[in-house]
Amino acid sequence: MAKVVVLGAGISGHTAVSYLSKSLKKNHEVIMVSPNSNFQWIPSNIWVGVGLMTPDQVKFKLAPVYKKMGVNYKQAMAVSIHPEGDAENTKGFVKIKYISEEDKGKEENVTYDYLINATGPKLNFDATEGLGPNKFTQSVCTYDHAEHAWSKFQESLAKMEKGEKQTFVVGTGHALATCQGAAFEYILNIAFEIRKRKLMHLADLWWISNEYELGDFGMGGAYVKRNGYVTPTKIFTESILKEYGINWIKRAGVQKVEKGIIYYENLDGKFLTRSFDFAMLIPGFTGAGMKAYNKKNEDITSDVFVANGMMKVDADYTPKPYEEWSAKDWPSTYQSQKYDNVYAAGIAFAPPHGMSKPMQSPNGTKIFPTPPRTGMPSGVIGKIVAQNIIHAVKTGKMEHKHKASMAKMGAACIVSAGYGMFKGQAAVMTVNPIVPDWEKYPKWGRNIKDTVGVVGTAGHWMKLFMHYMFLYKAKAKPFWWLIPE
């Protein structure tokens, strides 16, 4: 009998646990440890942030779904991992602390044969003074943040309806933040909603980003086939912002936010400000902050995790200059470097380096996006990690027949604006691979045949289709496994 423990019920962890429970039903135990009682389809939080969906439309309760799957669900937070066990346990275990009402505060050591760390990112609002929904800016990173953002957005709309001008600032809230795509989608939706109410003459819209050029999106930009040209995403992105009436500030590292004012430094080393009435800024991400201990109970956190708390896996972490970065540096099995039965899936794994060129201001401030890991690669990684563990459990051989490197995997980014069969539109961008491979594709860094950058209602239909399709899949309804990640 094998015992597989998955930490985190986000897209990657939930995908992993779905496949594990499907294949390891008899004589095996699959355990999910997650502090959240709900699964949320994060891409649709944008619609919650502009009132087009309610939180109930983007989330569902995990407990009944895991009961149906036969998964032992513990609503708890992982505190530390002990891969070698300790004086009492010969097996590796995870120390967890319960969050659920009935067991709140109770601690338990959960032993495992295989562990998947899919704890996702910690939203590090504290890294930027004044940032976050409890302070001066909004967020759409969770459904409750998005709901809060919608209430604040409504306040601004009400003021505009009375003739008052409003300034909206959306973008990255830290010099090294990522997830520009989500913020970009949000500002387009804000612009759409303001226009729908015929209030654009009272709106001053600003995009603020740590990208060197717009369209970088943390993946060093891309080239897309568009209207008979191979076009850099810079042109694509600037064109969309201009069309929606949005001004932009690039190469900006936000350092502090006070009521109505954002302080930032740019790559020229200048310290500048931008006033606002409504701001939604994405925070920096770190790992979940788990500790790791060896059999003697000595702290080995730095052996298992990198400094920001993300887990070291089968990547090449040798520090090297940007010019020497290679697609081969990226991991493909997500197995821990130190422990063979431990894996990190989704955002929990530490990338070997960025994709965007590191930039620094004359004052020494690093200002550039860190690598993104969106839902699609997170789901695929969760799936292949589960498949490799299933294979190991069934055959006793750890062969890693399934691989998924972000340097070989493609992704689609759908930036939707508006809502409805005929009123909604979206910009669809596909890239393959996600990490540019300049050795294999010396001209464009990626397979140009697989890239596309189009705007239209078809993209919006795709986003709606994915919303319903992936929630269906996540609820483990009949034939869910036929739906690809």
Partner: protein, 54 residues
């Protein structure tokens, strides 16, 4: 979409950005063309996702 940003200030950010023509805007909402695009894009994404891992 918006008229409230001055696109004509020389050397401003916005002055360098491209804008869609009326034909492009029409095609973006042309039902038949978008139905074709919907299937084409879904197939492309499916091929990329399935082919990206073993």
């Amino acid at each position: 979409m918006s008229k409230n940003i001055d696109k004509t200030i020389p050397y401003s950010n916005n002055s360098f950005a491209t804008e869609p023509t009326r034909m492009v805007k029409f095609l973006r909402v042309c039902f038949l063309y978008q139905v074709y695009n919907f299937f084409k894009l879904n197939l492309k994404v499916m091929r990329i996702v399935v082919g990206g891992h073993s």
